[in-house]
């Protein structure tokens, strides 16, 4: 497992789509910094401090489709270029490959999400003044639950990519599913308890009423998704 993670880390560092995505997020950050917050949005949501940027960023799912794309690309390319064969023919257990892929993609998406939070914090800080007022240790717990949700989210798209078995269909399926479930359904299922506490919606506050159901849902989903992915992969011929 350690050797497998060394290889995944080597691949992560050289994963070009990740850097392109970082550039994209960096560009978005620059645009928002230049334009600043819209006054009507500030008035409507009642933003008052830099901490509101953290609140806004930590629950922001707007990069869902980008996450879906990165996961599909990272996992699917190994099937298309048949480099996954290398791990299989050298006796690496299939469950290890699944776990390593989830861990690797979770690092990718976590970096992207942290960057998004950082962007919001900087933009809000620039608008209201840089201050740590409002930040409490419980925010870390909130972030931890969101990280847990993000890992479950990754497990879901790793499963889709393993089922697809090649980068092209995985990209199509993951981007479509992530855009629908992570971006579009939010507009239709606003207020729907189950959906709002699933891993498609990151925890909306640091209150127990949000964190506990979100964490339970993420853990259950993660366990089920990892188990299903391992079963699917174990029964699958890798023969392309």
């Amino acid at each position: 497992m350690f050797n497998l993670m060394r290889i995944e880390s080597f691949k992560l560092k050289r994963f070009t789509p990740f850097y392109v995505s970082l550039l994209l997020v960096g560009f978005m950050m620059m645009v928002t910094l230049v334009k600043g917050l819209k006054p009507d949005a500030v008035a409507y949501w009642g933003y008052t401090c830099m901490h509101d940027g953290f609140v806004d960023g930590v629950q922001d799912c707007s990069l869902a489709f980008l996450f879906g794309m990165l996961i599909a690309w990272y996992v699917g390319i190994d099937f298309t270029e048949r480099t996954i064969h290398r791990a299989l023919t050298t006796g690496t257990k299939r469950w290890m490959i699944v776990v390593a892929k989830i861990m690797a993609t979770s690092i990718l998406t976590l970096i992207m999400h942290l960057l998004l939070i950082l962007e919001d914090v900087i933009v809000y800080g620039r608008t209201f003044g840089f201050s740590l007022d409002g930040f409490v240790p419980r925010d870390l717990l909130w972030l931890g639950v969101v990280v847990l949700q993000l890992i479950a989210y990754n497990a879901f798209f790793v499963l889709i990519s393993v089922i697809c078995g090649n980068v092209y269909s995985a990209l199509f399926a993951c981007v479509a599913v992530s855009a629908i479930c992570g971006n579009i359904l939010r507009n239709f299922f606003a207020g729907f308890y189950v959906y709002e506490h699933s891993f498609f919606c990151f925890a909306k506050s640091s209150q127990n009423s949000d964190l506990i159901p979100c964490a339970i849902c993420a853990i259950i989903a993660l366990v089920i998704l990892v188990a299903v992915t391992i079963v699917v992969f174990n029964k699958r011929d890798v023969a392309n």
């Binding site: 050289r14 290398r86 050298t90 006796g91 690496t92 029964k235």
Partner: protein
Amino acid sequence: MSEIILETRNLTKHYKNAVALDNVSITLKKNHIYGFIGENGAGKSTFMKVISGLILPTAGEYSLMGESPGNALDDKRKLVGTMIEDPYLFPKYTVRQNVELQRILVGNPDKMATDRVIEQVGLEENKNKKAKKLSMGMKQRLGLAMAMVGNPQFLILDEPINGLDPKNIVTLRNMLKQINKEKECTIFVSSHILSELYLLATDFIFIHKGRIIETVTHEELEEKCSQYIQLKDNNVPETVTILEKHFPDVVYKVEAGDVVKIYGKLEMKAELAKYLMEAGIVVSELSEKEQSLEEYFMTITGGKANV
């Protein structure tokens, strides 16, 4: 008795309605070079993928170095080098990075092994070149370097000389012979270029439509390939009847132009001539000839009349 590297028992693989492998039972012994011969779609790659752990058999079982599928076999797989169809290269990584990743994957602690195998396959001048920029011959050599970096005891190579020019074919052949000799490595290699396999292998396994139809040593094959009786006459159907009646064990093939080729039993020539004469058949040719490995392969897979 030699140590057994691979043993399969009734290995079967079905794809929906198609049978890719049909009760394949073979035994590979240590330090031999096995040539795996079969036409396209015969089941060569499927068999290699099954024993490499890429695809799961529908039925049957196999053991690799004495271990059946499970945790112990997974450990043994680190001693198996594989190159099935194309080498599994990371195209954007350099030659060295590709081999180094494989070294880490097989858990070989010897860091020098990477550069050593690159040198062995003659890629040291290209070690910083990206894999996607290599020629086909270089890719095959890189694949071989990756297969060798774990100090394998068993090499599984599917069509390793595909796309290679004659010079590279000779280099690869010499390399494989050297690995076999120096490291006592068992090699299981398939190829369409039968004459090349003939120069490399010590044993041959013929597969046809998913079934093993013959397993012979190099010496046996040499004997079988060496000579046959070529008969040309004016009544082939009657000739076939005589062969079936008086020589039920012989392998023969009827070819265009009223030619019948009879394999293996040259001593029957005089007796056959007697039967033909008694039947009033006019024989225009009854001679002893030699056949190539290709001709032998055709005989046992397709052209044989009494199979």
